[in-house]
Amino acid sequence: MDTGIGREEKLSAAKLHMTQYVVAAVMLVLGIGLWRLQVLGSDNYKVLAEQNRVRKVPVLAPRGKIFDREGRIIVDNYPSVSCYLLRDQQQKLEADLPLISGGLHIPVDQIEADLKRFQYAPKYQSIPLKQDITPDEQAFIEAHRNELPELETLDEQRRLYPRDGFAAHMIGYVGEISENDLNEEKYAAYSPGDVVGKSGVEEAYDSVLRGVDGSRDVIVNSHGKEVGTLGQEMATPGKDLRLTLDLDLQMAAEKALEGKIGAIVAMDPHTGEILAMVSRPTYDPNEFAVRLTKAYWKSINEDPNHPMMNKALQAQLAPGSTFKVIMTLAGLQENVAQDMHVVCNGGATFYGHFFGCDKHHGSVDIHNALPYSCDTFYYTLAAKLGIDKIAAYGHSVGMGMKTGIDLPDEQVGVMPSEPWKLKTLHDKWYAGDTISVGIGQGFDEATPIQLARALSGIASGGALVRPHVLLPGQISESQQTAIEQTYTGSGAARIPITTENWQTITDDMANVLSPIGTAAEAHLEGVDFAGKTGTADVISGRKKGTADKSTIPNAWFVGMTPRRNPDIVVAVLWEHGYWGNNSAKLAAQVINAYVTKQRSKAGNLMRYASAPKTDGVGQPVAKHEDAPVGLGGSAPATPTGQ
C-alpha cells in the first residue's frame, strides 16, 4: 500500500497506535467470554460445580431383627466393614494389584475379573472388592492409605443367621437385588445394589424389615474421596419382627429330622400360627450374606435333594394314606361310610384291575379302617363316592390349592378331578383312576403344610385357618392386606362337618396311635395323641426329571394333640422313610416337646391327658376366637378329659 518508504513510515506512530486497538479488541473478546460464563451462565455452572463435589451417599437403614414368639432372637445384625475400589483417576492400578491381592487375600485374577465386570460402569462408581473384611485386612488398608488411595472402606450391617441352616428355609436370606428383580413391579422402589430378602420371611416381609435408607450429602474431591459432609437425612431402621415360631419346638423338630430328607411343620390349628418349620437338607444362609463361594453354590445347586427348597411348602408328593382322613370325612358326610363293611383279603378288584392292600385286615368298618389304614376299605369307599365328590371334599379342605401362608413360593399340589385331568393331561377320567386317589396315590399330590392344615381343620370341627408365620398386631392393616394379596390361597374357611362325624373321625385318628393302629409305636403315654400315617409309593407319585432314583416309599405322618380341637398339629414328610410309622415317631418327638413345655406351665398339667372320657359333650370349636388363647389353661377348652 504505502510506496514512500522511510524510517518514519515503517515504524510509524500509526502502526503502533493500531496495535493498541488490537490489544483492546483482544481484551474485549476475553472480557465478553468471561461475561458469558460468569454473569450469564453462572447459575448453570454453579449447579454443575455442586454436582461435581456433592455426592449423595446412602445411609443404610439397619434391617429389622427377627425374634421367635417368646422374644428370643433368631436373626441379628452385626457391624461389618467392606472394601471398595475407587477407579477414578487410577492409571497405575495394574501395578497395585499384587499388593492389594496379598493384603486382602483376594486372587489377582478375581480382582481383574471384577474390574472387567465393571469396565462399562461409570468410573466414579466404586467396585465392591471384598465384603466383611477381617480386622487384619482393615489394618492393611489403613497402613497403606498413601500407597493405595484407591481402597475405601464402608461400614455396613450384615445379617447374622443361626448356624448350620437352623430354620433357614422359613427365615430365608438376603442378597443384593438382581437385575431381573429390578424389572419387576414389586421391586419398583428398589435401586441397584440394594440388599433385599431373597426367600422366606426375609423376602415376604422385606418391606417391613428393610426400613428406609437415609442419605448423606458428602463433599468429595475429584478422586471421589470424601472430604466433608453437608447434611444428612437419617435412616429409619427396619422394624423388628416376632415370628410365631417357638424356638424350643423348632429345636425339637430340627433334631427329629437330623440327617434325613424331608420336612416338618408344626402349627397351632386355632390360629394358623406356625410353631416350627424344618426342611432337610438345609443350607447355611450366612454363606449368602457375604460373597457366595463358587464351591458352596455348586454343592447347593447340584445336590439332588435341593437344599434350597422349603419342602414344607414346596414338596408336592403323593400324600398316601394321610389322604384317608379326607376320604373318611367325605364318606361320613355323604352318609356312605357309616354302615360300610368291607372284608379285606389283601386287596380287591375294581373295573377289572386288582388293587392290593398290605395286609389281610378281615372285617373292616369305619371305626377300624383308619387305624388299620386298610386300602381295601378306601378303594371301596372311593368307588362308591366317585371322583367328583372326593374332589369336592378335597377342595373343601384345601387340597390342590395354596394355603396362603405368608411365605414365598408355596406350591399348590394336585387334587385330581375330571376337569383337572382333561385340562392338565388332556385325557378323560377313567373310573380306575378314582380307586388310587382313594388312598392318596395316583395323581394325588400334597404339600406338608396342606396336609397339616386340612387334617387339623377336620379335627377342629371344620375350621380351616390360614397358616402364617408373623405374630399378629405388628404391621399396619395395609401391609397386612398387601401380604394377603401377595400370598393368596384358600385362607380361612369353614367346612361342613357334623358333630357326630367329627367325633368319629377324631376318635379314629386317636386309634391310629392305639395298639391296633399303624402308628402304635409312636404312642405317647398320657398324651391324647391322634393322627394318620401315610406310606406313599414314590413310583407313581414321583416328579419326572429329578435325580432322585430311590423307590423307597415316602413316610408321612400328620399328628395332633389333643384329638379334638387340637392345640398343635405336626406334619412330617420323611422322603424314603419306609413307613409312615417312622414319621409318626418323629412327630411324637415334637408333640412330646410341646406337651412337656405346656405342662411345665402352671395349671396345664391335665390339658393333654389321654382319651377324652366324655365323648359327645364337646362342641367343635369352629371359630378361633373361642379357642384357648395362649394355652394358659384358663380358657374353657373342649373337650377336656383326664
Partner: protein, 358 residues
C-alpha cells in the same frame, strides 16, 4: 508505573497459588514463586543496566547458542523427560531449566536486529527478506515442536508477526502468506497426520467440551465450570470448590486464571484483564517513545509475545481456545516463565531508560 501493575499481578499470582495448592501436595509453592519473582526482579534490574545495543550485538551468538541448547535438550541423558516431553536441561543439584523459554527472549532480540537492518536499508521487505525472517523463527519452532511442546512453539510466532508487521511487510504480501498458510493448514487437517493424537483430542474437546466429560474434555469442562460458577463476586479465597476439590487441573500453572475467576468472580477477573491491558498499552507507549528502531522493535516483540500468551491462556480458560500448555505471564507458577517475563520487562526498561539518548 508499568512495574507497579506488574507487581500487583505478581501479588495476585502468589495469593492464588497459595489458595490453589492449599489442599494439595504442592502446598507451599507460593514461596517458591516468591523466590522466582525475587530472582526475576534482580534479573530485570541487572539486564536493564546493559545497553540494549550491546545485547543486540551478541544476539546472533545467543541465537546460535539457543539453537544448540534446543538440540541438546532432545538428546537423551541431557534432556530430562517430564510427562512425556523432553523440555528440561538438568543443571544438577535439583535445578533444571527450560531452554525454550529463554529462546523466546533471544528470538525477540535477533528479530529486532534483523529488522533493524531492513529498516535502515529503507526498502520494503522482499520475499527473500520475509523468507529469512521466517527461517529465523521456524528453526526453533521446529526444534521445540520436536520436544514436543506445541504451546511454547506457538509463542515464537508473534515475534515473527510483530517483526514482519513493523519491518515493512506489505499488505499484499501478508495476504499471500495467509493464503498459503491457510492452504497448508487445510491440507494438514485433511490428511490429519500432523497432530499427535492427544492434540487432536484437545481440539475435539475444545469444539465439544461435553463429548467426553471424564476423558479429554475433562480439563476444559472443569475450567468452564470453575470460571462460570465463580459468578460476579467469586466464592472467596480458599473457597473455590473446583479448585480446592482438585477438579480443576493444575490450578497453579496453566489454569491459574480459572482458579482466580472461581474464587474472585467476574469482578476480580476484569481487574486482572484491566491490569494486563494497562501493562500492554504501557509497553506500546514505551515502543513509541523508544530512541531508535531497534528499541521499538524489541519492546513490540515483548508486547506481542505477552499479548499472545494472555490471549491464548485466558482464551483457553474461558473456552475460546483449545487447551495448549501456555502459561499466563506473571501469574502462572514456574521459574523459567517468571524469569523470562521479568528479563523481557528488564529489556523494556532498558529501552525506556535510554529513550533520551542519541
Amino acid at each position: 508505573m508499568l512495574l507497579g501493575f506488574v507487581l500487583v499481578l505478581s501479588v495476585f499470582s502468589v495469593l492464588e497459588i497459595r489458595s490453589a495448592t492449599a489442599m494439595t501436595k504442592f502446598h507451599g509453592f507460593q514461596q517458591k514463586q516468591m523466590l522466582f519473582l525475587g530472582l526475576g526482579i534482580v534479573a530485570m534490574f541487572a539486564i536493564s543496566m546493559v545497553d540494549y545495543h550491546r545485547l543486540l550485538d551478541i544476539a546472533n551468538w545467543a541465537y546460535g547458542f539457543s539453537v544448540i541448547s534446543l538440540v541438546a535438550v532432545l538428546i537423551p541423558h541431557i534432556g530430562q523427560k517430564v510427562l512425556g516431553a523432553r523440555r528440561w536441561i538438568n543443571l544438577g543439584g535439583g535445578a533444571h531449566f527450560q531452554p525454550s523459554e529463554w529462546v523466546k527472549l533471544v528470538l525477540i532480540l535477533a528479530m529486532a536486529r534483523y529488522m533493524w537492518g531492513k529498516v535502515a536499508e529503507g526498502k520494503e521487505l522482499s520475499w527473500s527478506d520475509i523468507g529469512k525472517a521466517s527461517a529465523l523463527v521456524v528453526v526453533p519452532v521446529a526444534l521445540v515442536l520436536k520436544q514436543p511442546d506445541l504451546g511454547t512453539a506457538l509463542t515464537y510466532l508473534p515475534v515473527l508477526i510483530a517483526g514482519l508487521f513493523l519491518g515493512g511487510m506489505r499488505w499484499r504480501q501478508a495476504a499471500w502468506v495467509l493464503l498459503g498458510l491457510a492452504m497448508l493448514g487445510g491440507l494438514g487437517l485433511a490428511t490429519g497426520k500432523h497432530l499427535k493424537p492427544y492434540q487432536q483430542k484437545r481440539i475435539d474437546a475444545f469444539l465439544n467440551p461435553d463429548s467426553d466429560p471424564k476423558g479429554s474434555g475433562y480439563q476444559i469442562r472443569q475450567s468452564l465450570i470453575a470460571v462460570g460458577s465463580g459468578g460476579i463476586w467469586g466464592k472467596g479465597t480458599n473457597k473455590g470448590t473446583q479448585t480446592q476439590g482438585d477438579f480443576l487441573p493444575i490450578p497453579y500453572t496453566d489454569f491459574i486464571f480459572a482458579a482466580f475467576c472461581e474464587e474472585h468472580g467476574f469482578v476480580g477477573a476484569v481487574v486482572v484483564l484491566l491490569l494486563y491491558f494497562l501493562i500492554l498499552v504501557r509497553l506500546i507507549q514505551n515502543a513509541q517513545t523508544a530512541a531508535d528502531p531497534p528499541g521499538t522493535l524489541i519492546v513490540m516483540g515483548v508486547m506481542a509475545v505477552t499479548l499472545f500468551q494472555i490471549a491464548i491462556n485466558i482464551g483457553m480458560c474461558v473456552g475460546l481456545m483449545p487447551v495448549t500448555g501456555i502459561p499466563l505471564p506473571l501469574m502462572s507458577y514456574g521459574g523459567s516463565s517468571i524469569i523470562f517475563t521479568f528479563l523481557a520487562l528488564g529489556i523494556v526498561m532498558n529501552v525506556r531508560m535510554r529513550r533520551f539518548v542519541n
